[in-house]
């Protein structure tokens, strides 16, 4: 039983500090609007000067003129401070957790009863256990770095304070998601991150398409949320509680006592998996993530790489026995993950927008995580989640730096040779690319290899999935180094007369450096089992064992691979990565001619790939189209004819009735008298009748 310690109120500051920070930033934003007068935040502000000490005459991703932040500039230190203290507290909590003996594996924060349903109570309570420790460190740590970065990136934006308000709010929601001890609190965080994602994607809604992208993300998430809710209803029905550890602990008992429950568990697991697909952009609910690149790059880094999209993975690991109870379901999850990884990988090959490459790459890597989940390698999924957070955030922030220095140019075909102009960005970006592509000894190498090894070890149908995985690894390496080559090498394809690319401020490059270090060193979290013991291999696995054990037991551990096979797989992974990285680099280091040639040779295939196999078009044609038509029909028929008719008809009836009644006011006293007499007679009749 976890020890509930009364003096752990300070744990609540971890999620609450960002919330307070968000509120303060919001107030600062309102004050800024007031001081600017007329609540206008169109381009140009109201003649405020451009006298920044820093070098940004224009912003990536949008073409607002620079606006002085005024009092809103306070939002930056407020937000960063909130994140920093939250991170420190999280660190302290994890240290305290780590000091506990193996038996006690979680610290519970004080709880408030929210709703008493009569069957079971719904509390607001947070728990830090082995799993949420990992998550909370990632969220606050990487979040802190991104907050620091965003101060430089968003400088001059009219909505500076608003941005940090949203960002802090998001962190709060994400923390509630990972820290909550029951499904309801988790769902509150789940919805909260969806909301913040919507707000932040559409941050520059004046441009039009970001608003649509935000809406698309939200609606797709909603589909997943519906599945999530159905799943949680089923869980209540099955277990009579929504407490996460209780549910996870009761699955085994339920299975043994009631074999028929396996089907119900399957359905519940399927529903929750559906919810995870929506949030983590798995096939078929992934088309929102590339569109989400319309938001500012720090948003893409934080929400759509490191944290929000990993919520689905977290959910599955948290309730791993539920899914492990059905081997069929596990295979389905693995298949969906592998398929997603492959589709996204092929799509990333032909993207011209640097952010889109990274977006599809994220979808692909998330697919890897789900593949890991499907093989029962829950700890591996979390490990990959962590390393991915490091190097993907690094890559996104680097891309932001590039875009920032290129004066909002995002098309790689128009870049080139940027390593001369942005050395720090270049170096850190290369580190991130190395990690992503799985070059040996980088963090990404270890995490990806672990996943593939586990997949291989499962055998049977999983061999096919392993094959897809290794092919996707090749694709990953290829598109990653294509991206690097096109951006930083080759001839300069931009107009040097118009502008000069420049390195970004230290506010932006410092986080890049920290993340680069993490991307290199992150592999130490879980060296492969075949490594010598002094390196403490599979540390992450040991750390997470209390959480993942029930699921692994239920599923049945895979046959451990012989050491030789593992070394072969390691070598194979390294080889594939190196070969394809080299090929891509050399093919593209002189410019995008290969791309253009490919497009010319088979434009149809190029289009098919670049639009994610046409899935988005499919949705537009078969889902959005009919829904829109339905909406028009309903608006015309029900709203126009029925409701308007009813309301207007009522008004008309009142009018005409009134006009008819008006004729009664003839002024003829005798008529009035007659009416009075008639009513009197009526009353008299009624009185007599009722005797």
């Amino acid at each position: 039983m976890p020890p509930t310690q009364a003096d752990l109120v300070w744990m609540w500051w971890i999620p609450l500090l960002p919330l307070i920070g968000s509120a303060v930033c919001g107030i600062l934003h309102l004050l800024t609007l007031r001081s600017r007068g007329a609540w206008a935040h169109k381009a140009g502000g109201h003649g405020h000067g451009h006298d920044h000490g820093h070098d940004d005459a224009g912003h990536a991703d949008h073409d607002h003129a620079s606006v002085e932040a005024g009092i809103g500039a306070l939002a930056y230190p407020v937000a960063v401070l909130a994140m920093a203290v939250s991170f420190v507290l999280a660190l302290a909590a994890v240290v305290q957790l780590g000091s506990l003996s193996d038996i006690a594996v979680s610290i519970e924060g004080p709880a408030w009863q929210w709703i008493d349903t009569g069957v079971f109570p719904i509390d607001i309570s947070i728990v830090i256990d082995r799993l949420s420790a990992v998550m909370v460190l990632i969220v606050t740590g990487v979040g802190l770095l991104i907050h620091v970065y965003a101060g430089g990136y968003m400088k001059g934006d009219p909505g500076f304070a608003k941005f940090f308000a949203y960002l802090n709010l998001f962190v709060f929601a994400m923390l509630m998601l990972v820290l909550s001890s029951n499904l309801v609190g988790l769902f509150v965080g789940w919805e909260g991150v969806g909301l913040c994602s919507y707000l932040l994607i559409g941050f520059w809604y004046e441009k039009g398409w970001p608003a649509e992208a935000g809406q698309k993300a939200f609606v797709m998430n909603r589909i997943g949320d519906a599945c999530f809710l159905v799943g949680s209803f089923l869980l209540v029905h099955l277990f009579g509680t929504l407490d996460l550890s209780d549910i996870a602990g009761s699955v085994a008992g339920k299975l043994s006592s009631d074999p028929g429950a396996q089907f119900e568990l399957l359905i519940a697991g399927l529903c929750l998996f559906g919810g995870a697909c929506g949030k983590s952009a798995q096939f078929p609910l992934f088309t929102w993530l590339p569109d989400a690149m319309a938001g500012p790059t720090p948003v893409s880094a934080l929400i759509h790489a490191a944290t929000m999209v990993t919520a689905g993975v977290y959910l599955l690991v948290r309730l791993n026995p539920l899914f492990a109870a059905n081997p069929t379901l596990m295979f389905v999850i693995a298949c969906v993950g592998a398929l997603t990884a492959f589709i996204a990988g092929t799509t990333a090959l032909v993207q011209r927008d640097i952010k889109k490459v990274l977006a599809y790459s994220t979808v692909s890597q998330l697919g890897y995580m789900f593949l890991a989940l499907g093989t029962g390698a829950f700890a591996s999924a979390i490990f990959h989640l962590a390393t991915h957070a490091f190097f993907k955030a690094l890559l996104f922030l680097g891309a932001g730096s590039v875009i920032h220095g290129m004066h909002h140019e995002q098309d790689m075909h128009k870049m080139g040779n940027l390593r001369r102009y942005m050395p720090q960005t270049f170096l850190t970006f290369v580190v991130g690319a190395a990690a992503l592509s799985g070059l040996p000894l980088m963090s990404g190498f270890f995490s990806k290899d672990e996943i593939l090894a586990h997949t291989f070890a499962r055998g049977g149908g999983y061999y096919a999935l392993w094959l897809i995985g290794i092919v996707t690894a090749a694709l990953t390496a290829f598109y990653t180094w294509r991206m690097v080559a096109l951006t930083f090498f080759g001839p300069e394809r931009f107009d040097k007369a118009k502008f000069q690319p420049h390195e970004s401020s230290s506010l932006m490059t410092l986080p890049l450096l920290v993340l680069a270090a993490l991307a290199i060193l992150g592999g130490a979290l879980s060296f492969p089992a075949v490594f010598p013991a002094f390196l403490q291999p599979e540390y992450m696995h040991d750390w997470l064992r209390p959480v993942t054990e029930p699921g692994v037991e239920l599923l049945g551990a895979a046959h451990p691979l012989p050491h030789s096979t593992e070394w072969i797989l390691l070598a194979l992974g390294a080889l594939v990565a190196l070969v394809f990285a080299h090929t891509a680099f050399h093919r593209f280091k002189h410019g995008p001619q290969t791309d253009l040639a490919t497009f010319e040779r088979s434009p149809l295939r190029a289009r098919f790939l670049s639009e994610a196999w046409g899935i988005d078009a499919l949705y537009t044609r078969f889902v959005v189209g009919p829904v829109r038509v339905l909406g028009l029909v309903v608006a015309a028929l029900i709203d126009g004819t029925l409701i308007d008719g009813f309301v207007n008809g009522a008004a008309q009836a009142a009018l005409s009735g009134g006009m008819r009644l008006r004729r009664m006011t003839s002024g003829s006293i005798a008529t009035y008298g007659l009416w009075m007499g008639a009513v009197t007679a009526l009353i008299a009749i009624l009185l007599v009748w009722n005797r």
């Binding site: 003839s666 002024g667 003829s668 006293i669 005798a670 007659l674 007499g677």
Partner: protein
């Protein structure tokens, strides 16, 4: 007299309905006022009939509520007739008519 009180009430009812009919039908304002007096008389008759009924029921103990009320009704009727006729005079002075048809001033 041993007429059952119900017959007295019937007479009152008759008088009242005739007065009502005249009140609705006649155009001359003064005649309308007269019909009102007729109705009031019918009411008086009802009061007295009831009083008689009670008196007989209580073995000769006179019930004075009926006559007292009837007395007041008569006074009120006088007052009302006076004021009504004053109004008629004022009306005639302004409109040169006492026909209800021509005084539809309340018309919308």
């Amino acid at each position: 007299m041993s007429v059952p009180p119900s017959h007295l009430f019937v007479v009152a009812a008759l008088l009242f309905s005739i007065g009502a009919a005249g009140f609705f039908l006649r155009r001359n304002v003064i005649v309308v006022l007269m019909c009102i007096e007729l109705m009031l008389n019918a009411a008086n008759l009802s009061f007295l009939a009831a009083s008689r009924m009670h008196t007989l029921a209580h073995g000769g103990q006179p019930d004075l509520q009926g006559p007292i009320f009837a007395l007041f009704v008569i006074v009120i009727a006088a007052v009302e007739a006076a004021v009504g006729l004053a109004l008629v005079i004022a009306l005639y002075r302004n409109k040169q008519t006492v026909s209800l048809d021509e005084v539809a001033e309340l018309k919308d």
